[in-house]
């Protein structure tokens, strides 16, 4: 089966967070992110009004790894990923419990500057959403303006982000065109480039390929693999082959009548070859969902 495609899965899985962190501290290229020691969710619950949507999720995202969140619709994957950079609170009536630790510090601690948190934990959304009033180039650099960051060499940064998002060759001659003039797949890569420009430690991707054709999906998966060298990635996906192709770890979510829960998490190869839980096996083998 194609599930064993990523050879270095095991090596990465073996590396402890601290050893990764020391690698990160030593040899980082300028302009790429500092990895830190990763993200950690502890006992996260989420509510919408009275509706208990997510219960007791504890999950580690070691620095420099790709973690896929899979599960049927309505199981709380998107809700969970939105608690990880405090986007959950934008929904009226939302509530949560538990801790989300970035480098050991709770991002929900009172007094935390939430805009700083979102700078470190970037997000790519399901639907490509470039800013319509800005050109392609302005879109890439919009994060700097939004967060009022200084960068002396904007042109280099713009090129670097577009190269890393795999879009540079397609747009280098029309950086002054509007973002909306790109195709859906290109717009999504533009959104990835935009998220990279503020140099996040963690990148959350909420079904980034669900609106895209196979070719664009492939480009974005390549982008994810390249990015995982320099940042921690969490990706929600409905496509199990995609989870198998890009991720080091996989977590399976399921809502069985009640709130969504995390059923099982393990190295991706294990989830797809010998899951411990029967429900996981049923899902990954396509028996339901």
């Amino acid at each position: 089966m194609s599930f064993q495609s990523k050879n270095d899965n095991k090596e990465k899985a073996m590396a402890t967070p601290s050893s990764l962190a020391s690698v990160a501290a030593n040899g980082r290229k300028p302009g790429t992110s500092t990895l830190g020691i990763g993200l950690e969710a502890r006992g996260v619950h989420a509510w919408f009004g009275k509706h208990h949507a997510l219960a007791n999720v504890s999950l580690d995202f070691p620095a420099g790894t790709v973690t896929a969140l899979i599960g049927p619709s309505g199981c709380g994957k998107s809700t969970f990923i939105r608690t990880l950079n405090r986007m959950h609170e934008f929904i009226p009536g939302a509530a949560m419990a538990g801790e989300v630790l970035l480098d050991g510090k709770d991002i929900y601690e009172p007094g935390t500057d939430v805009t700083k948190i979102r700078l470190k934990i970037g997000m790519v959304f399901q639907k490509p959403n470039p800013f319509p009033s800005m050109t392609i180039g302005e879109n890439v650099l919009s994060g700097l303006k939004l967060a009022q960051l200084k960068n002396a060499n904007k042109d280099d940064l713009m090129e670097e982000c577009l190269v890393r998002a795999g879009l540079w060759n397609e747009v280098k001659d029309r950086l002054n065109a509007h973002g909306g003039s790109l195709s859906g797949g290109q717009q999504q890569r533009l959104c990835i480039a935009r998220a990279l420009a503020v140099n996040p430690q963690v990148l959350l991707m909420d079904e980034p390929c669900s609106a895209l054709d196979p070719g664009s999906t492939l480009r974005i998966e390549e982008t994810i693999k390249e990015l995982s060298e320099t940042m921690t990635i969490v990706i929600v996906t409905h496509n199990m082959q995609q989870a198998a192709r890009v991720s080091d770890f996989t977590a399976f979510f399921l809502a069985d009548g009640g709130p969504g829960e995390m059923i099982e998490t393990a190295a991706t190869s294990q989830i797809f070859s010998q899951p411990r839980d029967e429900r996981t096996e049923n899902y990954v083998t396509g028996r339901f969902g």
């Binding site: 950079n85 986007m87 934008f90 009226p92 805009t115 700083k116 979102r118 700078l119 970037g122 997000m123 959304f125 639907k127 959403n129 800013f131 319509p132 009033s133 800005m134 050109t135 919009s142 994060g143 303006k145 939004l146 967060a147 009022q148 002054n176 509007h178 959104c191 935009r194 998220a195 503020v198």
Partner: protein
């Protein structure tokens, strides 16, 4: 490479064929004949009778054609197409008639000095070529400009509160804004008269007139801007915030630029609401006959006031002046609209 096919002539098979076109014209003529015949033979009289008999006949003929050539569904389709045409005509005819009448009568009042002279030295029975309405144009511009400068920020900030902050007072404020947009203009005028003119300024001026216009303009701008801002997809706000922007930075850099052309439309609608407003102007501005560039002091003319006064004076010359004033007001509003459309559709860079 050789081309293996002959490029066909582009055609539009969905367009009506010559035969169908002929039939359309035939039905149209038949309807005209029917309306004349019915009006002549029955007791119905007047233009309105011709108008409605014509449309009724056209609708029935088209329905009959649909029934005969196709089926019941198509007949109904044809019938309602004509009803739509009737609705459109009912909307367009009065507008066209107003524009035609204003241009036709106002044209007689046009002369070389119209836009460069004021009425300070002209009496109502002077020939039309003496005097002009410079003072009224200057006054209207100043009144609208001052009212816009005050109303635009307040209106847009109100709309931002309703759509972005969504605070505790959203519902009462939305209710108040809606209620305010129904305030009769004379009430706004009387309110400023009693609360500002009698107690503070004790005199007429352009500024107090603008204040009354502001009361009318703010709800229009706020409501339109709210609708426009509600159309901006939430994705964009989330994207801005997820990139580390504060709410204010996101609104200022993402939401407002995305809504720009709609916000300009809100301003146009606000200006359209007040530019022809007469009642508060009559109460508050004093309506001078000389050019006055100072909105804080002295009587200030304006186009609605000029028109009202000209018709009131009643001499033949002054009524012609009134029509000319209407023409200028109409052209002014039209060019404002075109300018705003142009600004709104133009993209930056």
């Amino acid at each position: 490479m050789t081309q293996s096919y002959v490029i066909p002539k582009p055609s539009r098979p969905w367009r009506p064929s010559p035969r169908e076109k002929a039939l359309n014209i035939g039905l149209l003529l038949a309807s005209v004949v029917t309306s004349y015949a019915l009006v002549a033979l029955t007791e119905m009289k007047g233009k309105l009778a011709y108008f409605f008999v014509f449309f009724a006949a056209l609708a029935l003929f088209n329905m009959a054609r649909g029934l005969i050539t196709k089926d019941w569904m198509n007949g109904r389709d044809q019938f309602f197409s004509v009803i739509m045409l009737l609705g459109m005509t009912i909307v367009i005819l009065p507008t066209a008639s107003i524009i035609y009448t204003v241009f036709d009568r106002g044209r007689k009042g046009l002369h070389a000095g119209l836009l460069t002279n004021d009425m300070a030295l002209a009496t109502p029975s002077d020939p039309i070529t003496s005097g002009g309405l410079l003072h009224a144009i200057v006054g209207t511009f100043l009144l609208v400009a001052v009212a816009s400068i005050v109303s635009l920020p307040i209106g847009i900030l109100t709309a931002l509160y309703l759509t972005e902050i969504k605070g505790r007072f959203t519902r009462p404020i939305r209710f108040l804004v809606q209620a305010m947009s129904g305030v009769p203009s004379i009430v706004a005028g009387l309110f400023i008269l009693s609360s500002v003119v009698y107690t503070v300024t004790k005199s007429y001026s352009g500024l107090v007139g603008s204040l009354a216009l502001t009361i009318l303009m703010i709800p229009t701008i706020a409501r339109t801007a709210e609708e426009v801002l509600n159309l901006i997809p939430n994705d964009l706000r989330e994207a801005g915030v997820a990139l580390g922007g504060t709410q204010w930075r996101t609104v200022a850099m993402v939401v407002i630029p995305a809504a720009r052309s709609g916000l300009i439309t809100a301003l146009i609608l606000g200006v359209a609401r007040i530019v022809g407003e007469t009642a508060p102007i009559l109460l508050l501005t004093g309506g001078g006959d000389a050019v006055n560039f100072n909105p804080t002091q002295g009587a200030m003319g304006s186009l609605p006031f000029y028109i009202w006064k000209s018709f009131l004076l009643g001499t033949e010359e002054s009524i012609t002046r009134g029509w000319a004033g209407l023409l200028v007001l109409l052209v002014l509003v039209l060019s404002l609209f075109l300018l705003a459309r142009f600004l709104g559709s133009r993209r930056t860079k």
